[in-house]
Subunit: 113 residues, 2 copies
């Protein structure tokens, strides 16, 4: 069964978010991308007032996104990669950085042929 990519849909709960400094958050996401074997080709960050953030890196192999709701201690994480990459390596970096006490994970095979 061929597929275009693997998409990890992750719910980080009771997560200890590092502060909402864009550079720090994006640095972590880029480290995650690198760990998976992906190349970053674009990035966006948005800070909510008074707290919370969204961060996305576009990859040559799809994308990684984070959306953080501090009021729920909830971080929505998507890791979608293709080719000779390993999205679980990116997940390890994000888990280490955001340290969720509970994590729900669904693996979706995208573009199944």
């Amino acid at each position: 069964m061929k597929r275009a990519g693997i998409h990890l849909i992750c719910e980080f709960w009771q997560t200890q978010c590092i502060d909402s400094n864009p550079q720090k958050i994006l640095k972590v996401v880029k480290e995650a991308a690198k760990a998976s074997g992906s190349k970053v080709v674009g990035e966006s960050f948005y800070a909510f007032q008074p707290y919370g953030f969204s961060a996305i890196v576009l990859l040559a192999e799809s994308h990684i996104s984070l959306h953080y709701w501090p009021e729920f201690e909830y971080l929505a994480v998507d890791i979608f990669t293709c080719g000779k990459t390993n999205p679980y390596k990116a997940l390890e970096v994000l888990k280490k950085s955001f340290n969720p006490k509970n994590l729900q994970l669904v693996e979706v095979k995208r573009g199944l042929i």
Copy 2:
């Protein structure tokens, strides 16, 4: 049951992609965002050689992403929105623009509390 957002995971098959002009693609994605009631706060585009593209818009209400594999006539679409938005309105715009002959759709409620 409270939730943080709704994430539509869509597989567009046998899709007639408009050309890979970044401005045209991003215009469509922004129209989709607007239709859903979302506000665009960032964007990234990546063109593959010799063909194919990735496009993401970061929203104040999460994100919309497209990843296109022309060799499979396959477009991976994610529409993740929260608050008082309607992601299905964005889906209608994207369906109209990319005209897939087959479409698979999964609705994922993100951040279920």
